[in-house]
């Protein structure tokens, strides 16, 4: 296909979709693609797609661009069809993101009003309601706005809270009877600090106890009519009754699979920070932070987790010198300061310490969190997390080494290495082949580019983590 034909297609498409031709760029290889990104100041970009076209947004959401890989283009008709489809989808997505950002700001204002004891004089639309639902703050939004469409969620939260509270009293009394030491974390603990504890929606209640007491606690829950739900490979024990879910944990760390060694060692001191069934507020704050970090790196977090932090900051009577000291010990100081800065900006609360964050990072962080939902319901930016996490915690060189020098078992089932089966002594040759393939894969250009781009994207994720103060 000739370049003139490509241009003709672009012109037709942009005219039909009423978008400016000036924002369309053509990229035939990785370098020209990067140039486009630089020119349009795009800081986040996913791996190269298999399709003929891709559409991405600039950071300020003011423009979008379409990149076309001339290598993949065969006929003019095919190209035009692909271009039109991709551009149409992109425009819809772009409009949705723009709306979400607008609705997100309304949601943030409502949450800020809640935290600061102000009435919210705002009218909601469906986008704000959807975002509130994704971020599990519908009951707070109803409380502030009395929006009829969120009324059910409000009453459900009140009902769940009342039932949960009643069972908790029974559980606490039983634990006391048989001498079980315990403490609560996350939702159930932080809810007590909310101006309206009943409105902190939670999926489950986390009870921490010593391993030796787990069986006794399980019996108590079963006697109260809870049904045990065994989940293979998971350390927590789960108990269900109507809408209630209780989880028994004997360790604060096993859920924190991405925690650094210092973070783990800090959290392992949990019982030293516990007194009469109450975890020290400052220690719990660090745990919330660690948990938030885990989800941020993983599936993503939503506003509810940040509202929790804001509630702790505003109502938790925290000694921030202790918090800072603990954060240092747990290697979370950078992340703590960034989170404090974000909470201050989003919810208009006073944070005693905070990082200096740029307006650009603030915008990006707002966008990422708004689109993540509570636990990454809308995965916009997290698609390369596994790889990024690996780079993050293992280091780039180690990542490349471990992805090449795989153990024998890892090759089982790979067609390209079927010659290795039963010949373990050929493993060094498999490594050499893998190493060569990794850097010189010319047969599958797209796949090769994808790998290179995946690394670039992950490097970008690493720099994003740096901005978040995680690294």
């Amino acid at each position: 296909m000739k370049l003139s034909e490509v241009n003709e297609c672009i012109l037709n498409c942009t005219e039909k979709l009423n978008i400016s031709k000036d924002i369309v760029r053509i990229a035939s290889d990785k370098d020209s693609r990067k140039e486009c990104f630089n020119e349009l100041q795009i800081s986040y970009f996913p791996a190269m797609p298999d399709s003929t076209c891709e559409v991405l947004f600039a950071d300020d959401f003011s423009k979008y661009l379409i990149l076309i890989f001339s290598d993949n283009i065969d006929t003019k008709e095919h190209f035009y069809a692909e271009l039109f489809k991709t551009a149409t989808n992109a425009i819809c997505t772009f409009e949705k993101y723009k709306n979400d950002l607008k609705s997100g700001n309304v949601l943030l204002m409502i949450l800020s009003d809640y935290l600061n004891g102000r009435k919210s004089e705002l009218t909601l639309n469906d986008d704000v309601r959807r975002l509130a639902k994704n971020h599990e703050v519908t009951s707070l939004v109803y409380y502030q706005t009395k929006d009829e469409k969120l009324q059910n969620s409000y009453y459900n939260a009140v009902r769940d809270f009342s039932v949960r509270k009643s069972f908790l009293e029974k559980i606490k009394a039983e634990f006391l009877n048989v001498g079980i030491e315990y403490y609560f974390v996350k939702g159930i603990k932080v809810a007590e600090l909310y101006p309206t504890p009943a409105l902190r929606i939670m999926g489950d209640c986390d009870i921490h106890l010593h391993e030796k007491d787990k069986q006794k606690a399980a019996e108590i829950l079963k006697n109260l009519g809870f049904m045990e739900q065994i989940r293979e490979g998971l350390d927590e024990w789960r108990y269900l009754k109507n809408n209630l879910v209780f989880e028994l944990h004997d360790n604060l760390c096993y859920e924190q699979e991405n925690a650094s060694e210092k973070e783990r060692n800090f959290l392992l001191n949990e019982w030293k920070h516990c007194n009469n069934g109450e975890l020290e507020n400052e220690f719990h704050f660090i745990y919330l932070l660690s948990h938030l970090k885990k989800h941020l790196i993983g599936r993503g977090v939503g506003l509810r987790q940040f509202v929790d932090l804001a509630v702790e900051i505003k109502f938790g009577q925290l000694d921030f010198d202790i918090v800072l000291d603990y954060a240092e010990q747990a290697q979370l100081k950078g992340f703590l300061l960034v989170c404090l800065a974000l909470c201050e900006k989003w919810f208009k609360i006073d944070a005693p310490y905070k990082a200096e964050i740029t307006e650009e990072f603030f915008k990006k962080a707002t966008f990422v969190i708004l689109h993540n939902g509570v636990f990454g319901m809308e995965k916009v930016v997290n698609e390369h997390d596994d790889f990024a996490k690996q780079v993050n915690f293992d280091g780039k060189i180690k990542t490349i080494i471990t992805s090449v020098f795989l153990p024998y078992n890892a090759f089982v089932g790979e067609y390209d290495y079927s010659w290795l089966m039963g010949r373990k002594y050929l493993l060094p040759i498999a490594w050499i082949v893998r190493l060569i393939k990794k850097f010189t894969n010319k047969d599958s250009r797209k796949k090769g580019l994808y790998t290179v781009d995946k690394i670039t994207t992950s490097q970008r994720k690493v720099s994003e983590f740096e901005e978040w103060g995680i690294l």
Partner: protein
């Protein structure tokens, strides 16, 4: 008669609500109420009669007996209709 389920009461945003704890799936809601209804519910936690509830309220409130009787009947009828009394 008395309440079929254990009820817990919560006051939030200037309204009082009662929530049955440990109830079956037939009633999976909450009861919004005023202070008088809250008192009637409190009295219904132990075995009682409509007449005993009326007497208890009469001794507390300066209202005509018919008015109190009417209120108690309304609450009891509603609870009965929702299978919340035994």
């Amino acid at each position: 008669m008395k309440l079929k389920y254990e009820m817990t009461t919560i006051e939030i945003d200037n309204s009082i609500m009662a929530v049955p704890v440990d109830c079956d799936e037939k009633f999976n809601g909450i009861i919004r109420m005023n202070e008088t209804t809250a008192e009637i519910l409190e009295l219904l936690k132990s075995d009682t009669t409509e007449a005993q509830i009326v007497d208890a309220l009469l001794s507390k409130y300066d209202a005509p007996k018919e008015t109190i009787q009417g209120s108690v009947k309304r609450v009891v009828d509603t609870l009965r209709a929702n299978n919340l009394l035994v």
